[in-house]
């Protein structure tokens, strides 16, 4: 959904997000919804300004979100509060699952298919009966695990018949009945016991949200890293998707799940990813352990035969043509072997370990500050110290760039700079206003920004850096005859350079991402024009259409809707795909193609014109009739296998997946596991404390606390501040923001402060097995003790944005955290760990005094 579409919601649950403080301008659409009569609910461990402006605030302990959301699912199902016409037609609620499926209710907290040695699941028993369902997600297999070679062929089962369904919902293995059994014990009483939210408040919230959904009304969730930074982060979001699927809050005005992301183009860098596991726009990076030996095997294994993703070969081959040009030929598999193949998880946490282990020797750090932002800071610094060299590009000195001079280990006297061999480069970076290019916001809105002024001195854009580094490397490899150097030689790298500084033309790069025909270099206007025969080149199929013709860069478009227009602002910048503002908006109309209600109309079927029309660009085949049905006698493939009433076109069966047969590594349904570190035993599954598939890296310096370890009795969470941005260096060197938030602190409740004799503004030391930090206490009533499973549990919180550089300073909170990972994404847990806290100061002061700790 678009950010501004939040204003059309009738009820908004903000959970895992402090929207008012961390995305203040985005929050204005919540305020607007409230002004129009919506109920705003905030569910969070801390009472913040978001809570203060909400109609209802519910406190829950960090890491208990799935117990709360699972309780909502149960309450909605058991009280028949769901939007039956929507969910029966558009979700897989009636689909029948394999007989061998085993639920955590039967199996002490584990799904069927668990391999306790590998710590991973096989998904065979989670399939639709008689089918093998392909996943629409790029990283849907365990990276280091061998996969059978017949998977692609098994997906053909989806072309033979529709998935088995029981519209009466009586079949014991239909998704509806499985969900009822799975969530049977997530009662309001259990929700209170696990989360500490009073059961009456929980029921009230669920009923308000459900009653503000349906034909006439829609509700939305908003979340941020308060949901993702857990060992169950993906499943928390999944739990919200189930609620939204049941209540009909997807693809409709004011409905959806709004991810509030933290960096200007964090969405763009996910779409066109600087991520290890994907090629541009969600194509899987080939993996040697999967059936990916040749381009044909890769495409056969990864291409779902049904649904929109059946077009994948066109996108892959067009990408290879964009990257390798004439060197990508049919004979050499379009240059497929130039691409590196994965051998395992190479995300940031394993990369940190690989630095420590001297596997990584040279490291580029491009506008990121892992010495502050990455968990287990001392382990991170150890990794930096074991590198041969590191290049840091930023605009001011960062803790990462001067770890060898002022890092934790240097300040503790463990190591001297003269003992650290890392060769360091600091390259000053140009900032917005000093370079042009496009960024993608959290609603997939791609906006161009202009160059207005000159970057000072030797500051250069990252585009300049990467283009010129590439030119030098191509020159160094020019005369090589080694096969390993063919890829860099073949790489197309002919970007026009402008002016004295030889700045590359950013629009030329955007045109390459958009795509063109190979023969005459004409811009492609729509990804439906891309081909799998090498005749088109396209760097990112989802961005196709952003630059449809020469001189027409739609991310520069700046025409907002005026009064009386639809408010979709289709003329303001450009949204992928093809300027659609709301994904799956076919669901805004009923199966027959009519809006569910006049109040909530978005797109609809126009019989006279025989096409979909409305206030948004239809996210559907424009001329596909609502009454189209696949002819199963013809073994339909692609979009032919989806009906005219199947809105979820990226799924192999066109249905919203309440139950996920393929693609999730930790189960087809969200299940409450305690955080990796928790003060309590799991009240729901006493035999299964943690997510059984969570990624743990046991090594010295990264020890974990056991459940209910009396040495670490408090829940610890990290958070952000309105005036400070993430790794913090930008806002810590900005005079205004540094003055507004000058120093790190820990927020604790008056009850805990009294029991530990901690004074407001007095010093405290917080400790874990990973390290300790020293900060002043901020004693506030915004934190309250929880009652979990019958006993009192205190939670404390600390902003993680500080470091030793800039004007505003303080200890690095991430010293306290361990490196761990969600099974699906390898995301770390920062929102719910355990710790100890005491009044006073660290036993050993820094060897560098406060005054010396400056450059």
């Amino acid at each position: 959904m678009a950010l501004w579409d939040l204003a059309n919601s009738d009820c908004i649950i903000e959970m895992g997000s402090n929207l008012a403080e961390n995305h203040p301008v985005g929050f204005r659409f919540v305020v607007e919804a409230q002004r129009r009569g919506a109920t705003v609910i905030h569910i969070d461990p801390r009472y913040t300004r978001t809570s203060a402006l909400a109609d209802i605030y519910a406190p829950i302990r960090s890491g208990s979100d799935i117990a709360f959301l699972g309780g909502m699912i149960r309450h909605i199902l058991e009280n028949d509060l769901w939007f039956r016409d929507f969910a029966l037609a558009y979700t897989n609620i009636s689909h029948i699952i394999e007989e061998g499926y085993g639920d955590p209710e039967q199996n002490e907290g584990l799904f069927s298919g668990y391999d306790p040695v590998a710590g991973t699941y096989s998904q065979d028993t989670w399939q639709y009966a008689g089918k093998t369902v392909p996943s629409p997600v790029a990283e849907h297999r365990v990276q280091s695990q061998e996969n059978s070679s017949d998977e692609g062929a098994a997906f053909e089962s989806m072309t033979k018949s529709p998935p088995p369904q029981d519209p009466t919902l009586q079949h014991p293995n239909c998704v509806y009945q499985i969900m009822r059994r799975h969530y049977a014990r997530y009662t309001p009483e259990m929700v209170e016991r696990v989360t500490s939210c009073p059961k009456d408040l929980f029921v009230r919230i669920t009923e308000i949200f459900a009653h503000n959904s349906g034909r006439e009304k829609t509700g939305a969730f908003t979340y941020a890293v308060g949901w993702t930074h857990h060992s169950t982060g993906v499943q928390i979001i999944r739990a919200a998707s189930i609620i939204q699927g049941l209540l009909g809050n997807i693809g409709r005005p004011g409905g959806g799940i709004m991810a509030l992301r933290g960096h200007v183009s964090i969405q763009g860098s996910t779409d066109i990813p600087t991520l290890y596991n994907m090629l541009p726009t969600y194509l899987p990076q080939p993996n040697v352990f999967h059936d990916h030996a040749t381009v044909d095997r890769y495409l056969a294994t990864e291409t779902p035969p049904t649904g929109w993703w059946s077009n994948m070969p066109k996108y892959v081959i067009s990408l290879l043509k964009a990257w390798y040009g004439e060197a990508a030929t049919r004979e050499n598999g379009w240059g497929y072997q130039f691409l590196p193949k994965l051998t395992g998880d190479a995300s940031q946490e394993p990369m940190t370990m690989a630095m420590s282990d001297r596997v990584v020797k040279g490291q580029f750090i491009l506008g990121q500050n892992p010495a502050v932002g990455a968990v287990n800071s001392e382990l991170v610094e150890r990794g930096f110290a074991n590198l041969e060299w590191m290049v840091v590009r930023d605009f001011a000195m960062t803790e990462t760039a001067n770890f060898w001079q002022q890092g934790h280990r240097v300040r503790k006297g463990e190591v001297r700079p003269e003992e650290i061999g890392t060769e360091m480069f600091f390259l000053p970076a140009a900032m917005p206003g000093e370079k042009d290019g496009s960024v993608t916001n959290t609603s997939r809105l791609v906006q161009w920004h202009d160059v207005v002024c000159e970057p000072p001195g030797d500051s250069r854009s990252d585009l300049w850096f990467i283009v010129h580094l590439g030119r030098r490397l191509k020159e160094l490899y020019r005369d090589s005859i080694e096969p390993k150097d063919r890829a860099i030689q073949a790489l197309t790298w002919d970007y026009a350079l402008r002016g004295e500084k030889q700045e590359p033309d950013a629009e030329a790069v955007l045109r390459e991402i958009n795509g063109r025909t190979v023969a005459d270099g004409k811009q492609v206007a729509d990804y439906r024009e891309l081909k799998d025969d090498g005749s088109t080149a396209c760097g990112g199929w989802m961005y196709c259409g952003i630059f449809p013709e020469t001189g027409k860069n739609l991310s520069r478009s700046r025409r907002p809707d005026g009064p009386g227009e639809s408010g979709a602002h289709l003329g303001w910048a450009w949204t992928w795909p093809l300027n659609r503002r709301t994904l799956y908006n076919r669901a805004s109309a009923d199966p027959a193609g009519k809006p569910w209600s006049e109040r909530k109309k978005m797109i609809w079927w126009d019989e006279a014109q025989a096409k979909w029309t409305g206030n948004d660009v239809p996210d559907f085949l424009a001329d596909k009739r609502p009454d189209y049905r696949p002819d199963w006698s013809k073994r339909p493939h692609g979009m032919d296998a989806l009906g005219g009433d199947d809105p979820f076109i990226m799924e192999a069966d066109g249905k919203c997946a309440l139950f996920v047969p393929s693609g999730l590594k930790d189960g087809p349904l969200p299940t409450h596991y305690e955080p990796i570190e928790s003060p309590v035993r799991n009240p729901l599954y006493p035999k299964q404390q943690r997510n059984p598939t969570a990624k743990l890296w046991g090594r010295p310096g990264n020890e974990l606390h056991d459940a209910a370890d009396p040495r670490f009795p408090y829940v610890f969470t990290t958070f952000r501040l309105t005036e400070m941005h993430c790794g913090g260096i930008a806002t810590r060197v900005m005079p205004h923001t540094a003055e507004l938030q000058p120093e790190a602190f820990v927020e604790i409740s008056p009850e805990l402060a009294a029991s530990l004799r901690i004074r407001h503004l007095g010093w405290t030391v917080i400790s874990t097995l990973r390290g300790e930090v020293e900060v002043r206490a901020m004693v506030t009533e915004r934190l309250k003790p929880f009652r979990i499973d019958g006993r009192e549990v205190h939670q404390i919180g600390m902003p993680w944005v500080y470091g030793w550089q800039g004007y505003a300073r303080g200890d690095v909170a991430n010293v306290l955290l361990a490196i761990t990972g969600d099974a699906n994404t390898s995301i770390h847990s920062t929102k719910a760990i355990t710790c100890n806290i005491r009044p006073g100061r660290k036993a050993r002061p820094d060897v560098l005094g406060q005054s010396e700790a400056r450059t």
């Binding site: 020797k361 001011a396 003992e419 585009l463 580094l469 995301i827």
Partner: protein, 197 residues
């Protein structure tokens, strides 16, 4: 003496006539001509000095507020919310409103800094020297660590010896070329950014 006194009283009277506060205290609207004085009439908006204005996007969170950047002689003089943007309609949060302070921060570094292995200090170096050295080091690590196949002969064509972190603060075009050069050209696997964490 009388002449001087008269001149003084004329000046005082002139000042009082020009001074807007008594008129406003007497009840005239602050939005009217009553608020005008010689001083305020001579005030000029600093934006008038700008020789260039451009559309920008706030560089902090992912809400994507529109900004207008005003520059004079190649240097920014003002940053404000873009009133046309349907996202922010001219508003900015404290971070966004402080953007000019980031661009002009006294802590900003505009030289290339180099720290030799085991050294205790940074030294300034020419940009071209650093770029060549980085290219050479990149090639050296790649050549030492590149693996064409697994021991069983399966093709991997990758290097684990090089890593790259970062991208979420950058433009799509920059991310695209990082992945293209590092992944597609050099065979690097370790490419990550803030989107995951």
């Amino acid at each position: 003496m009388t002449k001087i006194r008269r001149r003084l009283s004329e000046r005082v009277a002139g000042f009082v006539r020009d001074w807007s506060l008594p008129r406003q205290m007497a009840g005239q609207s602050v939005m009217s001509e009553a608020a005008r004085s010689t001083t305020s009439a001579n005030l000029r908006p600093r934006l008038e000095e700008a020789d260039r204005i451009g559309t920008s996007v706030c560089p902090f969170c992912a809400v994507g507020c529109g900004q207008l950047i005003y520059a004079k002689n190649g240097r920014p003089i003002h940053v404000e919310g873009d009133p046309r943007s349907p996202i922010n309609q001219g508003t900015l949060c404290p971070k966004g409103a402080g953007t000019l302070g980031m661009l002009l921060s006294p802590e900003r570094i505009s030289d290339v800094l180099y720290r030799a292995p085991y050294s205790d200090r940074w030294e300034k170096r020419p940009l071209a020297w650093a770029m060549e050295r980085i290219a050479q080091l990149t090639k050296q690590v790649r050549d030492e660590t590149f693996a064409g196949t697994l021991p069983d002969g399966r093709i991997i064509n990758h290097t684990l010896g090089l890593g790259s972190l970062g991208g979420a603060t950058m433009d799509n075009e920059e991310n695209y070329l990082i992945k293209k050069l590092f992944g597609g050209g050099l065979g690097m696997i370790n490419i990550e950014n803030q989107a995951r964490i």
